[in-house]
């Protein structure tokens, strides 16, 4: 009899506890992020070079449509920033679960789902801050932001980073040592990025299926649409595909975290 009365507040208390735990995980990532200032500096050097050299070079080549090569690649470079920081943030749990705070999290009573969400939020905040720094560079090459374009941009960036951090975490939770890093960079990260550099309809036929499978295609296409109106798919298609992928990866990730031991 009494049990039923107790059930409700109890359940709510547990949910509050999980929210607090997610917040704790996020808070930790942010604290660490701002303490490692060299990482922030390093993270925008690469995009800067890509924008100046790669974008600059492409700027003189025809075929990128009305906006020109440099502006066309810019969303891909924002995407690259998200891609690299997010994936490597995720992969970092290889160390994390050996030495750091994550071990303490794994033995705490919080659920693996909360653990995973907390990690994603931490990683996406890191990535979004870094990508924001890159967005500022856009102003200098002539990208004109409006309130709407900025909001849409952040929406797409958030979806993308959720997927990417998840991918990194899933791979990281399965890996035993950081030796596989190079392989992941070569076979996952770079192809995902490179496929986004060119207009979708100018890709050779053999690349089209891969482009369809690449989550970054939809992320960068969404960003192109939001920033410079040069999208290939309708924006809502990009958004829906990304949202579905995010859901799928969160589910896989939670499962991977449940299987993960320290």
């Amino acid at each position: 009899m009494g049990a039923k009365d107790h059930e409700c507040p109890n359940k709510r208390k547990i949910e509050m506890g999980e929210l607090k735990a997610i917040y704790a995980m996020w808070y930790r990532e942010i604290r660490v992020f701002f303490r490692e200032k060299s990482r922030i500096v390093a993270s925008i050097i690469n995009p800067l070079f890509f924008l100046l050299i790669f974008g600059g070079g492409l700027g003189n080549i025809e075929g990128f449509g009305a906006v020109g090569g440099q502006v066309f690649v810019f969303p891909a470079i924002v995407g690259m920033t998200l891609l690299f920081t997010s994936i490597f943030f995720g992969l970092y749990i290889i160390w994390d679960r050996k030495v750091d705070f994550l071990k303490e999290v794994l033995v705490s009573p919080i659920s693996r789902l909360s653990m995973f969400i907390g990690k994603i939020l931490g990683g996406s905040t890191d990535s979004l801050i870094q990508a924001t720094l890159v967005l500022v560079l856009g102003v200098f090459i002539g990208v004109q932001y409006t309130l709407l374009s900025i909001s849409l941009t952040f929406g797409f960036m958030f979806l993308a980073t959720t997927i990417l951090v998840s991918i990194g975490l899933i791979m990281g939770s399965r890996m035993e040592s950081p030796e596989g890093f190079q392989l992941i960079t070569s076979f996952v990260v770079f192809p995902m990025f490179l496929l986004t550099l060119f207009p979708f309809d100018k890709l050779p036929l053999y690349l089209i299926p891969f482009a369809y499978m690449d989550p970054m295609t939809y992320a960068v296409d969404g960003l192109r649409g939001a920033m410079i109106g040069a999208n290939y798919f309708p924006l809502y298609v990009d958004a829906v595909v990304l949202a579905v992928l995010a859901g799928i990866f969160i589910a896989i990730g939670t499962y991977a975290f449940q299987k993960m031991k320290i």
């Binding site: 604290r31 750091d100 303490e104 009573p109 035993e176």
Partner: protein, 326 residues
């Protein structure tokens, strides 16, 4: 309601491939005990701890921790225990205070008591004036103390300490011992610790299980365990020891060769020392002492617990355990 045991294991077993790392363990630890799992590296102590803390699943059997089943009620088990790992598990890029604050959030400690809890545990381990420093500037001993403090914050009924003084210098070790004793006395928390240091087990624990190759070979109070030896130990270095003659003396319990010396177990060694020295022949050196847990271990397993330094860390071992388990 009758008082339940803090921990009870039922045929707890962990197999890695075909080797039973923990073999059919049946163990009962009462509330308020300081219980030691003593054994050499690779005896299965840490694996036992990992199962009890739900970090790995047993291959067979199960255990109740604070009345919760480690197989079915992992979350409840974890909520009711505190763990201090062998390897550091605090965040070294955060301050001591921040580490504790995060712990409070993870364990859902009510906001209005968090600050006083943090103050209380920091005081217990004497780290109040270092709380604002990054953990990376802490010494090994300070870090261990911080982690012990953290393990206590949510008032666990059982605190697990995995090799609490491994890798610490003697002074830091003394320090940590002091805190563990203080905990047991003031906080009345049940403490389960693993160690391969005899001295540590002897000093801290009220009961000890000696573990070898995944099995408990002896379980009792340190005093009773030592009584099993049945006397003091005399070690004699002699070029040609007359062992047969020694064996015939009626007060001699046991004679064996250890590391090129004759080890003789004698009831009342001081009284009979002259007789033994007369009997054995030419003597290079003599050493008389009371039995230690090392002798007990030797008695049961035929091998000594040697300090071979750091064993594979907890993390590394779970990771390799996982691959092997697959």
């Amino acid at each position: 309601m009758s008082m339940k045991s803090a921990i009870e294991t039922f045929n707890l077993t962990k197999k890695f491939t075909t080797i039973n790392v923990v073999d059919d363990l049946n163990l009962k630890i009462e509330q308020g005990e300081v219980f030691g799992l003593l054994g050499p590296n690779g005896a299965g102590k840490t694996t036992t701890l990992m199962m009890l803390t739900t970090l790995i699943q047993p291959t067979d059997g199960t255990a109740l921790v604070n009345g919760y089943d480690i197989k079915k009620e992992g979350g409840k088990v974890r909520k009711s225990i505190g763990i201090v790992f062998q390897d550091p598990s605090s965040d070294d890029i955060l301050t001591g205070y921040e580490n504790l604050k995060l712990h409070a959030m993870l364990y859902d400690i009510p906001d209005d008591v968090v600050e006083s809890k943090i103050r209380e545990v920091l005081k217990l381990v004497d780290l109040e004036d270092r709380k604002k420093e990054l953990v990376k500037n802490y010494s090994g001993g300070m870090r261990r103390r911080l982690e012990i403090a953290r393990g206590l914050m949510h008032q666990p009924a059982v605190l697990f300490l995995d090799e609490p003084t491994l890798g610490l210098d003697p002074q830091a070790r003394e320090h940590v011992w002091q805190y563990i004793r203080k905990l047991a006395e003031e906080k009345k928390v049940t403490i389960v610790l693993t160690t391969h240091y005899m001295e540590e087990a002897d000093l801290l624990c009220n009961r000890i299980a000696i573990i070898d190759k995944g099995k408990i070979v002896a379980l009792d109070t340190p005093g009773n365990l030592k009584k099993i030896i049945g006397g003091d130990i005399i070690r004699i270095k002699s070029p040609e020891p007359n062992i047969e003659a020694i064996k015939k003396l009626d007060f001699v319990k046991k004679v064996e060769m250890v590391d090129g010396t004759v080890s003789i177990t004698v009831e009342g060694a001081r009284r009979h020392l002259t007789k033994i020295l007369e009997t054995i022949g030419k003597v290079d050196s003599v050493y008389v002492r009371e039995p230690t847990l090392n002798d007990v271990f030797l008695h049961y397993t035929g091998g000594e617990i040697t300090d071979t330094g750091a064993e594979g860390g907890w993390a590394q071992r779970i990771m390799s355990a996982q691959t092997r388990g697959r």
